[in-house]
């Protein structure tokens, strides 16, 4: 593949998308405008590192929420696979299916790995105006944790929204 798009970085507009979040629903980046959005691209439901990472993010989600941020997981798995994976792991944030055309959104974000047919393990923090504030590409076998995400959210909004 020679047409790989470069991974967009800070200051660039986040490519718009609309993907299924369930068999019945679609979710777009635009509908979350006004709030920071965390995009967590990952290779595959059920793989060990992805499971650890996505489980970790569910546990950390209350911290993301204090910044008013929305978290979206994105992989090329289909909606039914996502549903089973989410139920098994207690994941309540949306897992979007970049399933058909396969990996189309990951490709636009420059994080599609054609040799494996999966998304890379990559993180983007998008600000409320739809501009990328931070991005990070992790080696596929390394769970990047959430420290980078929280630091990026802090830079976006130094004053946290503390729940009443």
């Amino acid at each position: 593949m020679t047409d790989r798009v470069a991974m967009p970085g800070p200051g660039q507009v986040a490519p718009e998308f609309s993907l299924p979040s369930s068999p019945e629903q679609m979710m777009s980046l635009a509908q979350l405008r006004g709030s920071p959005v965390i995009l967590a691209f990952y290779p595959a439901d059920w793989s060990p590192v992805c499971s650890d990472q996505m489980v970790l993010y569910e546990a950390i989600r209350p911290e993301f929420t204090t910044f008013g941020a929305h978290l979206l997981g994105i992989s090329v798995d289909g909606v039914w696979c996502h549903r089973a994976f989410a139920e098994r792991n207690g994941i309540r944030y949306p897992l979007l299916a970049d399933f058909e055309p396969k990996g189309a959104v990951a490709r636009r974000y420059g994080v599609y790995e054609p040799e494996c047919g999966t998304a890379d393990r990559a993180l983007f923090v998008v600000d409320g105006d739809g501009v990328i504030a931070w991005s990070y590409l992790s080696p596929p076998s390394v769970n990047p944790g959430a420290d980078g995400i929280l630091s990026a959210l802090e830079r976006l909004a130094p004053v946290r929204q503390v729940p009443a």
Partner: protein, 184 residues
């Protein structure tokens, strides 16, 4: 602003203080910090490993346990962490910590009650404190500090503040500890 390829995390951002649960010499040259979850099978596997390391390096290693419960996959993990903090208030943290990991696969409200009785405590009193979340702040504080230190699963170990990214067999932990002793 960071670049897309910056590597983050890997260092303990919350230093060890007397607020921590510390086992071994207070001023040991090597500090081994674990972020763990009482219901995590990998942490339960690591428990005898840490005991062995402490046994083999009794004068040089201080062990610190911090809470990192993942309640979405381990429904009793946060509860167990809060219970252990209630026992810490009675100077029985390590006894309860050990009991939790020795019964990790069976943890539930009812089984934890047995552990509390084994320690001579009244479960109803502890449960009342835990139900009012008297110790939740400590558990959450450990968790958030772990996230900021780059904890990406459990167990995650730090040796003198640096995340251990190799395995956690006895040989791995001993090697990491001995490296720090050699560095001085």
């Amino acid at each position: 602003m960071t670049t897309p390829f910056e590597v983050t995390g890997g260092h303990l951002t919350v230093p060890v203080t007397m607020e921590d649960r510390i086992r071994g010499p207070l001023h040991a040259p090597v500090s081994l910090v674990e972020y763990g979850d009482f219901q995590c099978p990998h942490c339960a596997s690591a428990y005898p490993v840490v005991r062995e390391v402490m046994h083999q390096r009794p004068d040089t290693v201080q062990f610190v346990y911090r809470h990192f419960p993942l309640p979405n996959v381990h429904p009793y993990a946060e509860y167990a962490a809060e219970v252990s903090e209630a026992t810490a208030a009675r100077d029985l943290f390590w006894e309860m910590h050990d009991w939790m990991f020795e019964h990790s696969a069976d943890l539930a409200t009812t089984t934890i009650r047995i552990g509390l009785r084994d320690l001579g405590l009244q479960p109803a009193v502890i449960e009342s404190e835990v139900d009012s979340h008297l110790y939740l702040d400590k558990v959450r504080s450990d968790f958030v500090g772990g996230v900021r230190s780059g904890v990406n699963g459990t167990p995650t170990f730090y040796v003198n503040g640096v995340r251990l990214d190799r395995g956690y067999a006895v040989a791995d932990l001993l090697a990491a500890v001995d490296e720090r002793i050699a560095v001085g």
